[in-house]
C-alpha cells in the first residue's frame, strides 16, 4: 500500500514576522524584511514562546525552531501527539547550528580561561540541538536527527521526512529547518568570501545583483501519513509529492556553471511525483541574488523543464523579501510555496528591475500575480542548493 506524506501544519519565524501566514501575506503584499542589509527576526521574542529554562537551555537557532514548531503543531491540531510516540520523528536541518553560542563561549575561553566555559556550551551549539530539544519538548520518540547540508539542509530534512513516512518508519514527522547566524564571525566570514551583498540589497536575477543578504529564521512542517491523518480528521494543507537530491561534485562553494546537478535534482523530484514539467504552476527559486547561482539556476530550470515551460512558468525568490535563511531557507520557502499554491498566487521577486543577459525567465517582477485557476492541481517546485554542491528539490501540491 502506498503511504503518502501529507502536510497538516506549518509554522515560521522569519524577518517578515512571526507566523507562516504572516510570511505569505507580507511577501505577497510586497513587504520587505530586510533592513540596513540584514534580515533579522526583529519581531521574535523568545520568552513569548519559551520558559525561562528553555531559553537558557537553547541557542537562538533552537529557540526559533521551537517557536515555529509550536505554531505548526497548533496548526495541525495536536494537543498531544496523535500517534504512538515512537512513530513520530523530529528532523530539523541547519547550515551551521549554534554559532552564536560558539562565538560567545570562545570569547569566554580567551578572556576568562577554560574554567569559565559554560557546561551548556556543547549541548547548545551542536547542530542537532533543535531536533533533539524539539523531540524532548513534545515527547516525540521516533527517529530524530539534524540534517546538515548548508543552504539545502531543510529541503533535505523535509525530503527525508517524507521518505520516513513513505517507507513506513514513521507515521508523522515534525520537520523543517532553523538558522541564526547574524553573528560577528559568521557575518565577517561570509563577507570575506564575497558571498554577501556589499550593497545590502537582495535582488535575485537582476543584472546588478551582488550577493545574498544574510537572514535568520525557522520553518517547520508537520508531515503525517495520509490515511492516518484522514482517520483522525486532520485538515490537510497539501502534499510532499516529490523529492530529488543530487551533488554537483564540482566546487566547495561555486555551483556547477550550467546547473547540471540542479537540473537533475528537479527532474528527479518531478519523476518522484510522477508529474510532467508542464503541470508545474509555480517555481520557488533558490534565487540567492549571487551572480553565479541565479545564472546556473536559470540554466537548470531550462534544462529540466524545457525551454518553453521554463519561460511560461512564474519563477520567484523568497530571498528577495527575507534574505537568505541558509539552512532554514528550504523549509521557509516550502511553506511559502505551499501557501502561494493554496491561494493560487505567485508572490513577486522584489527589487528586480534590470534584466541580465541570458536570465530571461518570468521572475514575477511587478508585484504578486494570480496563478492559473481551474481544475488542474496546484503543483509547484521549490529549489535549494548549498555550499558543498548539495542540491535538493521538493515538489509540493496544495490541497484543493
Amino acid at each position: 500500500m502506498t503511504r503518502t506524506p501529507v502536510i497538516t501544519g506549518i509554522g515560521a519565524v522569519t524577518p517578515l514576522g512571526v507566523g507562516a501566514r504572516t510570511l505569505h501575506e507580507r511577501w505577497t503584499a510586497g513587504a520587505s524584511g530586510i533592513e540596513d542589509g540584514v534580515a533579522a527576526c526583529t519581531e521574535f521574542e523568545p520568552t513569548d514562546h519559551l520558559s525561562t529554562k528553555e531559553v537558557r537551555r537553547s541557542d537562538r537557532f533552537t529557540q526559533l525552531a521551537l517557536a515555529a514548531a509550536g505554531e505548526a503543531l497548533d496548526d495541525a491540531g495536536w494537543d498531544e501527539p496523535p500517534y504512538d510516540r515512537d512513530r513520530i520523528g523530529s528532523v530539523i536541518g541547519t547550515g551551521i547550528g549554534g554559532i552564536g553560542t560558539l562565538e560567545k563561549q570562545h570569547l569566554t575561553l580567551q578572556e576568562q580561561g577554560a574554567e569559565r566555559v559554560s557546561p551548556l556550551a556543547i549541548p547548545l551549539l551542536m547542530a542537532n540541538a533543535a531536533a533533539g530539544v524539539l523531540a524532548m519538548r513534545h515527547g516525540l520518540e521516533g527517529q530524530s536527527f539534524g540534517t546538515v547540508s548548508a543552504c539545502a539542509a531543510s529541503s533535505h530534512s523535509i525530503g527525508m521526512s517524507a521518505r520516513l513516512i513513505a517507507y513506513g518508519d514513521a507515521d508523522a514527522v515534525v520537520t523543517g529547518g532553523s538558522e541564526s547566524t547574524l553573528t560577528p564571525l559568521a557575518t565577517a566570514a561570509f563577507r570575506r568570501m564575497e558571498a554577501t551583498s556589499p550593497s545590502g540589497i537582495s535582488r535575485p536575477f537582476d543584472r546588478r545583483r551582488d550577493g545574498f543578504v544574510m537572514g535568520e529564521g525557522a520553518g517547520i512542517l508537520v508531515l503525517e501519513e495520509e490515511s492516518k491523518a484522514r482517520e483522525r480528521g486532520a485538515r490537510i494543507l497539501g502534499y510532499v509529492r516529490g523529492y530529488g537530491a543530487t551533488s554537483d561534485a564540482h566546487h566547495l562553494t561555486a555551483p556547477e556553471p550550467h546547473g547540471h546537478g540542479a537540473a537533475r535534482a528537479i527532474e528527479l523530484a518531478l519523476a518522484d511525483a510522477r508529474f510532467e514539467p508542464e503541470e508545474v504552476l509555480y517555481v520557488n527559486a533558490h534565487g540567492t541574488s549571487t551572480p553565479l547561482n541565479d545564472r546556473s539556476e536559470t540554466e537548470a530550470l531550462k534544462a529540466a523543464l524545457g525551454e518553453q515551460q521554463a519561460h511560461a512558468v512564474p519563477v520567484s525568490s523568497t530571498k528577495s523579501t527575507i534574505g537568505h535563511l541558509l539552512g532554514a531557507a528550504g523549509a521557509v520557502e516550502a511553506i511559502a510555496t505551499l501557501l502561494a499554491l493554496r491561494d493560487r498566487v505567485a508572490p513577486p521577486t522584489l527589487n528586480y528591475e534590470e534584466p541580465d543577459e541570458g536570465l530571461d525567465l518570468d521572475y514575477v517582477p511587478d508585484g504578486a500575480r494570480p496563478l492559473p485557476n481551474g481544475d488542474s492541481p496546484a503543483i509547484g517546485i521549490t529549489n535549494s542548493f548549498g555550499f558543498g554542491g548539495h542540491n535538493a528539490v521538493l515538489c509540493l501540491e496544495a490541497a484543493s
Binding site: 537558557r56 574554567e115 549541548p123
Partner: protein
Amino acid sequence: MSTTVTKEQVEERIREALIEFGAEPDQISRDAEFEQLDVDSLDLVELAQISEDEWGVQVKGEDMEGIRTVGQAVDLVAERMS
C-alpha cells in the same frame, strides 16, 4: 575573602542562580529538592562554577552527586569556605 561571607549570603546567591535557571522563586527553600525545582545535573555544574567565581570554592561535578536539596548545596559551599 571567605571569612567575610555568611551562609545567608551564600544562600541568597544560590537562590538568585536557581531563579536564573528557571526555578519558581516561591518554591525555593532550604528543604526544596532540586528535582522538584526542575534543576538538573547541568544546572548543578553551573552552580558549582558560580561558587568558584563568587567565593573561590572548588566544587566538582562529583561533589554534587549526593546533593538533593538547596540546603545541602548551601551547606557544602559554606563548609568548603571555612
